[in-house]
């Protein structure tokens, strides 16, 4: 059963996507394994809704108070976005391991998939992870409890 409607600040999500894109691009250019690992950890903490998730802290403590970006709070389910973050975290974690093992090409392919999907989400609001979540919800998979929100 779906929970009551909740609010999600999409400016916070966009901030996370922008940071992910920038850090992974810098990571690729500098060939930096730690940067990919840092993004994986940040995405993992966001996925488990940790109060110490760096993206959340950066948005709430720096971006939002600065007034540079206005909050964009809308009715939404947070779970699909967290699931999408989790998928990104897995991709980046696997990429980190592959980089440490010396398998650079498949590792950077994974990183570029994350960059591409984060760009899609940032620029045209297409959240591939959310789409997968709702497909799994439709299939009745345990854990994927949130249905699409009703028409407002």
């Amino acid at each position: 059963m779906a929970a009551a409607l909740r609010k999600v600040d999409h400016s916070g999500l966009k901030t996370g996507q922008a940071i992910t894109i920038v850090l992974l691009l810098i990571g690729f250019v500098l060939n930096s394994v730690p940067l990919v690992a840092i993004v994986a950890v940040a995405q993992f903490l966001a996925a488990i809704d940790s109060p110490y998730a760096p993206y959340r802290l950066i948005y709430q403590r720096i971006v939002k108070p600065s007034g540079l970006i206005k909050p964009h709070v809308i009715n939404d389910n947070p779970e699909p976005h967290r699931f999408a973050m989790g998928i990104g975290a897995i991709f980046n974690a696997v990429a980190t391991v592959l980089l440490l093992l010396g398998a650079a090409t498949p590792a950077w392919v994974l990183v570029w998939i994350v960059i591409a999907l984060a760009n899609l989400n940032f620029w045209i609001n297409f959240c591939a992870g959310c789409w997968v979540y709702y497909q799994l919800n439709k299939l009745g998979l345990p854990g994927f409890t949130q249905s699409p929100i009703p028409e407002s």
């Binding site: 250019v29 500098l30 899609l120 609001n125 709702y134 497909q135 929100i149 407002s152």
Partner: protein
Amino acid sequence: MIERLIAALFLMASGVIAYRLMIGWQIKQTTALAATDPLLGGLKPGVPTILYFTTPTCIPCRTQQTPALKRLQEELGEAVQVVKVDATEQPDAAQRWGVFSAPTTFVLDGNGATLAVNHGVAEADKLRQQLGATA
């Protein structure tokens, strides 16, 4: 490092160029399609149209795109007509129009020529501006 920077710039630029080429191709294809497409069959001739593809699982459609279109219709009245299509109910239509994500909006002039394609949410101001090209 310079090589990797160039590779990153190349990949990013390739993505942007591919997207722009796709939009151009989609505008050309849908302009040819609009004259005979059954989706636009019952519309008033000479009035600009927004063809809006949505899906039941599209959250931005419900929270942003639909309200933006309602607002635009309230403002413009009969000067614009909006056709809403559920891409899951009409997958053939979505395929014909080359829709791969929701929301997608096609802005058509009074003659059915495609003026703009928006992948993702298009705010009312943007749609008004795109429609303004017909004036």
